[in-house]
Amino acid sequence: MKFKQFFSFLSIVSALVAGAMLSSCNKDDVIGGDDIKPKIILDSETGIYTVKAGEELVVEPTYENASGADYSWTVDGTEIADTPMLRYTWTTPGDRYIRLTVTAAGGSASEELKAEVIQPAPPVISLPVSGDAITIALGTDFVFNPEISNSEFEDFSIEWTLDGQKVSDERSYTFSATATGNFILRIRAQNSDGTDTKEIRITVVNSLPYVLSFPTPSYFEPSTTRYTFAGRPVHLTPVMENLTAQSFAWTVNGSATDCDKPTFIFTPDSPGNYIINLTVDSKASASVKVICVDATESQRYRAATASSSPRSNKVFEWVPAPGQFIGETQTGGMTGNETTLALANVWAETRLANQHYVSLGGFGGYIIVGFDHSISKRDGQYDFAVMGNAFLNASSGSGGSNEPGIIYVMQDINGNGLPDDEWYELRGSETGNATTRQDYAVTYFRPSGPGMNVQWTDNYGASGHIDYLNAFHRQPYYYPAWIEADSYTLRGTCLANRTSQDSSTGFWDNSAFPWGYSDNMGSDNMTGADAISGSGQRNGFLIENAMFSDGSHVNLQYIDFIKVQTGVNSKAGWLGEVSTEVFNFQDLSLMPQ
């Protein structure tokens, strides 16, 4: 309808012009008067022409009063044609402004046009597979469900071949491992701009290889060594894959223990190094070192001084999951130079210093910060606060935007100033809830090309993707540039999401959790966090809520490091992934009241 209105308007204008032409005459003999001046009528309503690099652009205007006219098409002052019609080919993409000038006996007319020369867009295939090989167990199915960019064109096609034989032309393909051996799966995607192919070497084995290891305290920390004080337990739980996990045998310095559980609670009673070994199902073994430091908890305490900052002063690791604000240079404030962990940490540190948000991306993304002193536990008062940007919906006082961050704390047990010690999760309202997964792990895969969703798989057999939001955040990649590997796994506690869409209004809500999480309007949302005071939204936390992995209480007198990790794996339509944002970390004992 609107187009019709516009069209009819143009028709009216044309009619008026034509009428004026018919009714007037060149009575003053003025050369170039409106009635005899040439007129250019473009074959585009907007004057904008889109063409692919390497393809010929054809512009074919019609003219009036142009008998015997001279034509000139120029770009930046250089003539590219002198004919009524333009035929021209650019080999490189970019915008070109074209000036068309028509000069005839009655005068001249000129129009500026624009040629948008765009890059050809062949398809790009991206698969949630690390490298180009995959091993599959006999008797199982594996679904290949690639992301393919530029597949929206009409002439797009896809073909799957297995050992040279075509097996499908659908978007996804299910490989059934019916016999052991090696297979070559080839995917070929094609559109009018080109072709992309990917080959995957599939190995089918009778049973998948075992994986048994102990996790490091963070993605960039290479050591699995654990630290504790004498008398404080260490909870040791391995990461296992492809094991039936029916039997567990733990040893300490070669001596057998009576533990036969997946988690061994080891309590050294004196300083020293302890090698803990685990054998699972009598098949796989792994070791981890536990160092019981020769110091007491109070000896490691770093008291605040008069010059101590109430706010965190150091970012040790910013490892977000992929997300719409990762690598975002337009509104996300990044520079595009954050290509190493050190540069990313410096960027995040500056952001927090200015109380600007740092996004942790989807599930598992985290940031680790430290202070210039230890934050002491206080009685009956929140010890520290984390600023976020949660809020509730208007009339209902519920819903809104809550993107819970799980809080972990650490003491600098080994005294080296680095967060390579022991993380303790803070208890929250969802701790112990049957829907809370404390062993959740998501692996993210780097997309093969720009502008693509980031695919993920989890350790519960699910898969999905962090959506690329073309309308809002157009940086090429949402995958952190400082993660060198083509896939990475983030582990932590995952809450059942509270994402919902109102069926009548279509609005998305991420409802709040009762308490215990940052970026969340729980009961621990601190007073004063309102529009008038200007203090922003923040949650208060108690060191007293620190716990071991089994939920039992750990008595910490102070902490040195805080980690916040996005605690749900969810997305809310056009709003994208649910991602915890942090703005600031505060030692409340030092904050001005």
């Binding site: 809020f391 509730l392 993107e403 279509g506 008038i532 709003l575």
Partner: protein
């Protein structure tokens, strides 16, 4: 998650809602400064971050290139509040609309000191003066336009907008033609409404595209509005936005210029002689009000940042563009000659969104 947009469209939340109706503001009084800003100048309202109460007012003197930031706070000793939306001058006072503090401050134009305030507004956006004793205040999240008495700083009545709920309520900018005030309805709306200022009733509406963002009246008494077309995934729909020319006399669309699907234009403005339009669509665009198609070349090219506000000096045609950068740090104002040459640039507050010429 995309919170800026989320904030913009769907939320203005409960916390503030109840503050609006139950709370009285506790302003943190501090020391004050004396200003004496004589002559012409430009006010810039800096929205600040939603819920952070860090809205500020800046003042720029084009003759000296000097900018003074946080002039409201410095002159009065208390904060402006949360989300400064717009400012209008009337009766030799500046009327600063502070959206999420539910208040309009009237300030002295030379000292910037408060001379009065209209409180208990829902979520005010713009004020339009009809006389010394009557003005309209548009609202977000309310289906009523508030009628206020600027002399007594009081709310005197309401104009109910038909077919609008509190949740989808959005009335925005106003222009006047004779006894009628026209107002664009933006958030989850698609219309211009016509208000009879004698009866204070909505007497007509014109349906156009999704979410008309702004409204001006050119020298030929034609209104111009620009829709943003909604956004991907919006429950209200998403379409190619358009620039509309609407005849005020007949209240009908005279011309429509379509943008590309996915564009998000805003901030249609006029120069002082009201014959040249300006707007933001990634780049800054300029077009004669008699043109039959949009130029292919922008007036000012996109600078890989966030153009958020726009104004034209009515006296000399210089163009001022507000850059919100990343919505977090202090914004920048770029001042251009009518030929598009950069003349000056200066830092203001967080999220500079609107201008007001003195």
């Amino acid at each position: 998650m995309e919170k800026h947009i989320y904030l913009l469209f769907s939320l203005f939340s409960a916390i503030l809602f109840h503050v609006a109706f139950t709370g009285c503001m506790e302003w943190d009084y501090g020391e004050t400064e004396e200003f004496n800003a004589t002559g012409t100048g430009l006010f810039i309202t800096n929205e600040g971050n939603f819920q952070y109460g860090n809205a500020t007012l800046s003042y720029y003197d084009p003759s000296t290139d000097e900018v003074q930031n946080e002039v409201f706070f410095r002159a009065n000793g208390y904060k402006l509040g949360d989300v400064a939306q717009s400012m209008t001058i009337y009766d030799n006072k500046g009327w600063v609309v502070v959206n999420n503090s539910h208040v309009i401050f009237a300030i002295d134009l030379e000292t910037f000191k408060e001379v009065g305030r209209i409180e208990n507004l829902t979520s005010p956006r713009y004020i339009h003066f009809l006389s010394d004793e009557k003005a309209y205040v548009t609202q977000l999240w309310d289906n009523r336009i508030f009628i206020v008495n600027p002399k007594t700083y009081s709310i005197t009545g309401y104009i109910e907008v038909p077919d609008m709920t509190m949740e989808s309520g959005s009335t925005e900018q106003m222009v006047q033609y004779g006894r009628y005030v026209y107002c664009n309805c933006w958030s989850y709306q698609n219309r211009i409404i016509k208000i009879d200022t004698e009866t204070d009733r909505v007497v007509g509406e014109l349906k156009i595209g999704i979410q008309p963002t702004s409204l001006v009246m050119d020298r030929y008494n034609r209104m111009w509005t620009i829709t943003d077309g909604g956004y991907e995934g919006s429950p209200y729909g998403h379409e190619a936005p358009s620039l509309y020319c609407i005849d005020a006399e007949t209240f009908s669309v005279e011309r429509q210029f379509k943008f590309r699907f996915g564009d998000w234009p805003s901030e249609v403005q006029l120069n002082g002689t009201r014959d040249t339009l300006y707007w933001i669509n990634n780049d800054i665009w300029r077009m004669d009000v008699t043109a039959t198609r949009i130029p292919v070349r922008p007036f000012l090219e996109y600078r890989d940042t966030k153009y958020y506000g726009l104004t034209v000096n009515p006296a000399n045609g210089e163009v001022y563009v507000a850059d919100a950068i990343d919505y977090q740090q202090q914004g920048v104002i770029y001042r251009y000659s009518p030929q598009g040459k950069l003349i000056d640039q200066f830092y203001v507050g967080i999220i500079p969104g609107a201008f007001c010429w003195k």
